[in-house]
């Protein structure tokens, strides 16, 4: 992997909330908790976030949050029907909280969103411009939805997108492969969390 200059990089941790990847969460039936475990995603992201903070790379938490009843969450796609139907990711609930081990640390940034794309109607782009970011390291869940969409938007918006292969999880290995080996081709650089941490220069 090409070097990543910490002065012009940021790392996002997207949707790693209880409802998304934890047993007992709203989408546990999807297989997402099992895949998150097999990917060891929480521990890998925790370690990469630690390396990022140590290198001076800003860490940005992107959380999917709706109000009780998901008002304003237009039901135009199955994903959004799922969020509302499962009463998932409601502000103030356990399900919407960051998973154990990935709570924000002092100096981290937090962005809330209510669609797949971390950029859509959020201040993420403004924050990245303010931080002078050129390279965006993307971790989180689910790889095929929020991660892919955010990586694509990052590429279109002029950022170099780097997706962590073992810092992302979805519902099973087939879906993960579809994202990393097909969808992200020519869009993002894919590497392990160790490779990414090893690429921090200076």
């Amino acid at each position: 992997m090409d070097a990543i200059d910490p002065k012009s990089a940021a790392m996002i941790i997207q949707d790693l909330q209880n409802d998304v990847i934890i047993d007992g969460g709203a989408f546990a039936d999807s297989g997402a908790p099992a895949h998150a475990k097999s990917q060891n995603v929480v521990e890998n992201v925790r370690k990469l976030a630690g390396a990022a903070r140590k290198a001076g790379v800003p860490v940005i938490h992107v959380w999917y949050i709706v109000e009780q009843g998901a008002p304003g969450l237009k039901q135009n796609a199955p994903l959004f029907e799922g969020v509302k139907g499962a009463n998932a990711l409601v502000r103030g609930t356990w399900g919407a909280a960051a998973v154990d081990g990935l709570e924000p640390q002092d100096g981290d940034h937090i962005i809330e969103k209510m669609r797949m794309n971390g950029f859509y109607e959020t201040r993420l782009d403004i924050l990245l411009r303010g931080l002078g970011v050129e390279t965006l390291i993307i971790t989180g869940a689910w790889t095929n939805m929020s991660i892919e969409h955010t990586a694509r938007h990052a590429a279109d918006a002029g950022y170099r997108a780097v997706v962590a292969s073992d810092g992302t999880s979805t519902v099973d290995d087939d879906w993960q492969r579809a994202a990393l080996e097909y969808a992200m081709t020519n869009v993002a650089t894919v590497g392990t969390c160790d490779e990414i941490a090893g690429a921090f220069s200076g």
Partner: protein, 198 residues
């Protein structure tokens, strides 16, 4: 003020026959007279020459509607007036620029007031590495003002050229430059901009 050519782009906004030409669709608004009296077109052309000579990008932003204005909503008086006057239609004299693009210039088409709304301008500015946008053109209170505001909100430093912008009257010009753009954009004359480009 110092403007680094590699980080500064000139936006020449809506300088088209219908907006500032003596026979343009909106000449009766006073816009053509204002532009002529203040030498706005000549000064914008001189700015463009200076930017090209310095190796800084020149971006022409043109308001272009399709014939019949079928693709433009009429939700505000400005858009209704464009449709009613059948102005700025692709392929017509009225839509043609009064400051022509030179080889290497960039052209962006728009249909709203802000040059950033639903256009590739932001992508192009990022690609060019621009951090500062120098805005000239017409009309000061609408397209120029809105473009400066969006530029500021998007993280660019906005400079509005006081003597290379045109609107419909002195009062309107003052409202934009002395009030609306206060704390949004830096005011500078064309001479000041050119002298700073080094």
């Amino acid at each position: 003020m110092r403007l680094e050519p590699a980080r500064t782009a000139l936006l020449v906004i809506d300088l088209q026959n219908d907006t500032v030409g003596a026979d343009g669709a909106f000449a009766s608004s006073g816009a053509a007279a204002f532009a002529a009296e203040h030498g706005v077109v000549e000064r914008a052309a001189r700015l463009a020459d200076a930017f090209r000579a310095a190796g800084a990008p020149v971006i022409h932003v043109w308001h272009i509607d399709e014939r019949g204005h079928v693709d433009s909503t009429r939700n505000a008086e400005l858009y209704r007036s464009i449709a009613d006057a059948d102005a700025l239609v692709r392929g017509t004299w009225g839509a043609e620029p009064v400051v022509g693009p030179a080889p290497g210039d960039v052209v962006v088409e728009k249909q709203r007031m802000s040059s950033f709304n639903s256009t590739t301008l932001d992508t192009k500015l990022r690609g060019l590495g621009a951090r500062t946008v120098v805005c000239c053109g017409a009309w000061t209170n609408w397209a120029v003002e809105h473009t400066c505001r969006d530029a500021a909100d998007l993280g660019y430093e906005a400079i509005v050229v006081t003597d290379a912008t045109a609107t419909i009257s002195e009062e309107f010009q003052r409202a934009a430059l002395d009030y609306a753009l206060t704390t949004v954009a830096t005011r500078a004359t064309a001479d000041e901009v050119i002298a700073s480009l080094r």
